[in-house]
Every structure is written in structure tokens, then in C-alpha cells.
Symmetry: C2
């Protein structure tokens, strides 16, 4: 049994002072005692919050970050970026993907993300043929999580079309996976003793046929298998227009109608949502994964977040393409975009800490980390000891506690890395450095040095 | 004579390899030699760029950062934030302002800003009466610059109205300064041997009467005195509407017509500029000071930057209210806001390094650092040895040079602090820490601890 004393901690009911956390060898909290005597418990050294869940990651894209920021003569967009991304991944092998994911997950932990949902669609070899072990790439992502200590939910992704009613393009051969192949992959991973929870992804209505969505939804046995269901929805205007033309409805509208969308679903982006879709999304109980830095980098547009908050919708954040790996930048600019659009400040109706707190809890839900399976995102008995420690050493934070400290963290300054990070009762970051940063860097650097440029 | 060897450096004509910089005791570059032998010159340890000029600062607002991020029941805006700001500054004394400015300027240097233009309007005591030395507050800002080593241009600001045709409100008494009092202040500072260049500010068309603008413009002798002229323009929609009602023209439109706006002017924000104003601004040669993080935090709106770039307008960045002190966040989100609005990527027509390079050079111009006075912003003989060193130690930057390194710096990751920073030939930041961080912190912390909360 271990203990940790925090002067202040964000518990499910809000901030509490003088909290002693007791956790067992397996990293599960067995008692959480506010207003306790510090006695000689080890001190956290700052405010304790649940670790931040990262709801949406394509690990390999970290290797492309900062490499597609040069203007094209005839204008650049999401679609030209996608071509760059295809070119980049054309030669990536499993060693490269594992090295990238290791460097990335280390960076995530140092930034305060303790859980990551990997939306995994780079399944096959460069020529489009499956690896001898069809789970090769998935296993490598699991290995990167194990090396760094991040909590992973792996979501293998169905990908079967090159666009609405279009065959796959040759450069999409590495992604090809039918629903039944995806289920086979889940089985193979379970057989291999894969140590991480599994979800199921449908890439998007662009890349998955509507019949497949209906097949999945109608087969309740099949639908029950993955812990969580993830899908990109309504990221681009062109996608919305094509969906209306093909399926007679907007993507979110179609999905809410065709699939029995509930709290097990995580819908990624939902950028182009009209008022009815916002209401429908909020009512469904699904979690919307918002990825403000990626959505801005790709020029996707701005999700109607203020309306969604008012409707009581669930949401969390994701670093997606990893051009930024910093929960503060996501939360800050999620709010700032609303201010720019509305001309009002402090758009989050619930206030910083309650909104942030909900992003943590709802985000954990989207990782399949519900109380029934593994309780992540809530510091309470039975929950996982996954937490971050925000110190008040920076002059911008000194003397601030609770909500005032959270406000300073999110809306002030750039030095946002937590001081310490714990996953499952184990310190993985101390003094802003991953405890194995040097060892891991030495292992992956030679592979990273060979990445395509 | 000292030297510095850089593997790569951003010189006025672009990137050059193997550059030896020679600079004298006064911190002036006497020779800049590309394609040189590294010999045993000290190594920069990364790519060398001119230091970043910060075109717009209200130092005291640093103390408020993160303290006005709680929603008001009836909606919050720029105007309610301004009330919070007035409340915060009501009791600030010269010691507090000097301590805040010292902490802030230290943070700026560590972030890569080597020059700051202080738009100074907190002139008088809390009761609105001038201090015994009317230059008290200005001298304290100068002292903070001297303690930290940042290059300062001080811009005392004329402030005479509480809004279009409105008298000053009681809480604006500390700001009250007529044009002739401002000129008196410049004289007093010169007499006191103030070591920093001086500009002149007009707060805004809200706070300065149109007659005063005309008086200044018509008196060429008077106009010739300050090195640079700064003014807030068109930050808020309400301001534009009131200006049209009162003066019969939009603020930028009115100013371009009434004042002989040229390259000596720096117009701050210009958020609400229509197509004709964008063209007029670009033609005038004035520098627009863009402050994306503050403009987002305050919900001001989005400057039509893509159009302004296409028109060849001059611009630089400012950290303004200091809710963020990070040139990368300003440059990144300046571009991202355009992507969100247009749906296109890579909106900067000139590409990252040329745009960034122009922000550095134009920005220096706005600080009054023209070649005729002090040559800042260009690494060339006769220029100041003000520079930052970007290392490539982070895995996201490794192996990247020149534009690719700049792209990674601006558009990838959060670890944006330069490794080392030099001002006037003196290293002020080494290994990401101000060389006197501890001493300065010990001196200012007790004062900062007494700030209003």
C-alpha cells in the first residue's frame, strides 16, 4: 500500500483540501481521504488532478508534424495535406511506427496525458499486403505504450472505400480493413494476450460504406464486443456535401438516425454540426472528441462548442495529428475560438474547472474506461491512480489554488507541463521529465533519424 | 571583439550556412561572414535568428493574467474584462509595477523576445494625482528593462477621454495625460538620462480627441520628436460603430485620412478592417501590431491577415496583455485563425521563413529601431547583436535546418523556448534560463506576493 498527500485535489465532487490518496500495488485507489493529517505521507508538491485522457491519436502522424507547412502555389487544404500524409507514410515500417509512437507517448505523458485512444488504421505493409502477423502494427503500438507507461486503448479501424461510392485508391491500400477483418484483428490481439483494452473504429462515412454501419448496428452480439466505438464525423465541408448527395442526410444527422448512438460512441471532430445535430449529439450521450489544434492546422472549421455545452453534451480532447501535444493548448484554443466567433469571453457556461473536470471524466469514458471495466478519470476508491501534479512554482501560479490555479494553468503563460505524472500508481514523469527519457531516446533516435523527410 | 559561429543563420538575404558573427564591446556587429571556417570560434549550438521584437506590451496586465477567466452570469466581453483590469490596477504602486515588469521582461527574454515596446499609460498615483516625479512609473519600467537586459522602447501614451465625446471616468484618472503633458514627460525622461528610446502613443480614438490627433499631425516639429508613434485602432466592433457615429468614418479610415500615417506609425490590432482599410494600411507603410493571443482572449475578432499579406502590408506581433508570452503561439495562431476562417492551409503567401523574417524586421521598425537610429532585427554589419539560438535537440526538430527548422518551431510541438538569447552582444539566456533568474526572482517575489487577487 502506498500513499500520497495533496494540499488540494480535484475529486469527483470538486476541489478538496489536504487529501490523502491510498493506492495498492496494482495502482488502484483504495481510499481517498480529504481533510486529513499530512502526517509523514509523501507530498505531491502541488495540486493533484486526474490525468488528462487523449481521445484521438494517429501516432504515425507525429513524424509528419511541421513537415507540411509550406504553401502550395494553387492553395493548400485538408485534401492536399492528406496527400502529403499518404506520401509520408508510404514507406513507414513497423520499427518506424513503434519508434514514433514511443517518442510520442513519452511526449504525451510529459504534457499530462495519461490515457491515449489510438485510432489505428495503418494496418498493412507498404504494398498493401497484410504482415505475416496481421496484428503486427497493432502489437507495436501496444509495445510503445508498455515502454512508456501510458494507458492505451487501441481502436482498430475499418477502412474500405476511397470516398463516398469510390474504390480505395492505391495509396490507401495499407488502411484496407473490412468489418469482419477488424473483428478478426480483435480476436488475434486477444489471443496474443494484448494487454490493452480494445475498441472498434469506423474511419468515416467517406471510408466506410453505409451498409457496413448498418451491419454492425444490427448485430447486437458483434456490437457488444468492443469496449468503445470511434468514428470521424463531419470534419470537412466537402464531406458534408458529398454525404448529403449520397445518403440524403448530413453525416451526424445520418449517423444519429442509422446507428443507435449512445455513450459507448466517441464521435471525432463533428466540426460541421447544425443546431439539430448539436442537440441530437448531446441527447445521444456520445462523447465528442474535439481536436482544436489539428482542426485549426487543417483548416477544418470551428465546432459550435458553446451551443453544445449549453445542451449538456459530453466531450473530451485529442491531439490527433500531434502537431501539438499539449492539453492546455487544446483547452485554451477551444475556448478562444468561441470568443473569436461570438465576441464574448468565458464562453464555457460551466466555468473552467467544471468544464475541465468534465473533459477528464467524459474523456475517460470515450477510452472505454467506464467504472464497469476500469475506472479512470475519477480520483475515488476503485479508480486508477492516474494523476498529474500542477505545481505553483511559476510566478504566474504562485499562491493560487483550486479553480484559480486551473485558470492560470489553462489561460496564462506557456509553461504548462505538469511537474509530475503518475499512471497506475507508478510515477512516469518526475520534475517534468519522463523517468526513462534518456534510455528511450537512445533506443528510438536511430530509427527516427531514418524517417522520410 | 567577440565572435560566434552558427551552422546556419537567418541573415537579411535569407539563410546562410557556417556564419561567423563578429561583434564589438558595445554589442554592435562589425562583420557577418557566411561560408566561414568554424576555426575555434565559440559555437552557437543551433540556428541563429534575429531576436523577436514584441511590439505591444502593457506590463502591469501580466499581474492580471489568468485572473479574469471566470464567466459572468450575464455574459462577459472585452468591456467587462476592462472593468476587471481597472479594478486590478487601482492599487498598484511603482514597486509593484517594477516587480511585475521585471518578472515579465525576464519571461519575454526566455521566450525569445529581445525587444519590447511598452505602451505606457499607467502614469499617476491611485488617486489620479501625478507622482512627485511625473516620470516615476516610466522610470520604473526603464529600470525593469535594465535589470533584465531586454531592449526597451518606451511609448508614453496620451489619454484624455473616457470614450467618444465622454469625460474620463474616475477609474481612468491614473491614465490622464494630454498631448502636451506627454511631451513634457518625454522631456523629463530625457533630462533624467533615460537610457531607452522614446516614442509617443495615442491610446485610441476612443480615448484621444480627434482634435488632438490633428494638432499632433499639423505640428511637424512636434511630430518629429518621438522615434515612433503607436495607437490602438479598431479593436472592438462597438468602437467602430461609435467612431462612425461620431467622426463619420471607421477608425482606420479616419486615421489614414486625418493623420499622415507612414512607416513611423505602429497601429495596434486593426482587427476590424474592411477591404479599403486593408489596402490603405498596406500602402501607408505603417506597421500593424497583431496580438493574436490577447485578441482571442478578449474576443476581439480576426484581422483579415491573408488579404493584408497579399497587399504587402507590414506587421509584427505583440504579447499585449501577456496572458501568453510566446512568439510561437502568436505566429502559430495568427496563421491558424486564417485557416479556420478560409478553410485553406498555409495562408501566409510568402511561406513561413519569409513571413517570420518580415515580422522580425518590420517589428524592429515599429520599435523605432530603424537603421538610422539603432539597427535591430537584421544580422548585418552595423546591426545590434540581438539574437536567439534555436537548437535541434528536441526529437521534433532533429536533423532539420533553415526553413524546415522554422516550420517545426512554429507549427510543431510546444517546447518553443530558444536555447540561448543574446541582447547587445551579451548572453541574457543560457540553456533556456535567464542568467540572473534566481537573483531577480528573489528580489521581486516578495512584491509579487502582495499583488491584489
Amino acid at each position: 500500500m502506498s500513499t500520497l498527500f495533496a494540499e488540494t485535489a480535484l475529486l469527483p465532487a470538486g476541489w478538496h483540501r489536504n487529501v490523502v490518496l491510498h493506492y495498492d500495488e496494482a495502482g488502484t485507489l483504495v481510499a481517498v481521504r480529504p481533510d486529513a493529517d499530512p502526517a509523514d505521507h509523501p507530498r505531491a508538491g502541488g495540486a493533484v488532478l486526474p490525468g488528462v485522457p487523449n481521445l484521438h491519436s494517429h501516432a504515425f502522424q507525429w513524424g509528419l508534424a511541421g513537415r507540411a507547412e509550406r504553401g502550395q502555389p494553387d492553395g493548400d487544404s485538408f485534401w492536399s495535406w492528406r496527400s502529403e500524409m499518404y506520401r509520408f507514410l508510404a514507406e513507414l515500417d513497423p520499427d518506424a511506427v513503434e519508434a514514433i509512437a514511443t517518442a510520442l507517448y513519452l511526449e504525451m505523458l510529459e504534457a499530462g496525458y495519461t490515457t491515449v485512444v489510438e485510432f489505428h488504421y495503418l494496418h498493412h505493409a507498404p504494398d498493401g499486403r497484410p504482415y505475416d502477423d496481421r496484428a503486427e502494427m497493432a502489437l507495436r503500438l501496444g509495445r510503445a505504450a508498455e515502454r512508456t507507461g501510458i494507458r492505451l486503448t487501441l481502436v482498430p479501424v475499418v477502412y474500405e472505400a476511397g470516398g463516398f461510392g469510390q474504390p480505395l485508391a492505391p495509396e490507401q491500400g495499407r488502411f484496407r480493413l473490412t468489418l469482419y477483418e477488424a473483428l478478426g484483428l480483435l480476436e488475434r490481439l486477444e489471443a496474443a494476450g494484448f494487454a490493452h483494452p480494445l475498441g472498434l473504429g469506423l474511419h468515416s462515412l467517406r471510408a466506410v460504406r453505409s451498409e457496413t454501419v448498418r451491419d454492425l448496428v444490427e448485430d447486437r452480439t458483434l456490437l457488444a464486443r468492443p469496449r468503445t466505438l470511434h468514428m470521424h464525423v463531419a470534419e470537412q465541408r466537402q464531406e458534408v456535401e458529398e454525404c448529403v448527395a449520397r445518403l440524403g442526410a448530413r453525416p451526424i444527422e445520418w449517423l444519429l438516425e442509422a446507428a443507435d448512438v449512445d455513450a459507448r460512441w466517441c464521435l471525432v471532430h463533428c466540426t460541421h454540426a447544425d443546431a439539430a445535430e448539436v442537440t441530437g449529439l448531446a441527447r445521444s450521450g456520445a462523447v465528442v472528441a474535439l481536436c482544436p489544434t489539428t482542426e485549426a492546422n487543417l483548416g477544418d472549421g470551428i465546432f459550435p462548442f458553446a451551443e453544445y455545452e449549453r445542451a449538456g453534451g459530453r466531450w473530451g480532447i485529442g491531439s490527433d495529428s500531434h502537431i501539438s501535444v499539449d492539453p492546455v493548448e487544446e483547452l485554451r484554443w477551444l475556448e478562444y475560438e468561441q470568443r473569436l466567433v461570438t465576441g464574448h469571453r468565458n464562453v464555457l457556461t460551466a466555468g473552467t474547472s467544471r468544464s475541465t473536470g468534465r473533459a477528464l471524466v467524459d474523456g475517460a469514458l470515450a477510452g472505454g474506461w467506464s467504472a464497469a471495466a476500469d475506472n479512470v478519470g475519477r480520483l475515488e476508491p476503485g479508480g486508477r491512480a492516474d494523476l498529474i501534479v500542477l505545481d505553483a512554482d511559476h510566478p504566474r501560479r504562485r499562491g493560487r489554488m483550486d479553480d484559480a490555479l486551473l485558470d492560470a494553468w489553462i489561460f496564462s503563460g506557456g509553461d504548462s507541463a505538469p511537474a509530475h505524472v503518475m499512471v497506475g500508481g507508478r510515477w512516469v514523469v518526475r520534475e517534468r521529465r519522463h523517468v526513462e527519457r534518456e534510455t528511450l531516446a537512445a533506443a528510438v533516435d536511430p530509427v527516427l533519424a531514418r524517417l522520410p523527410r
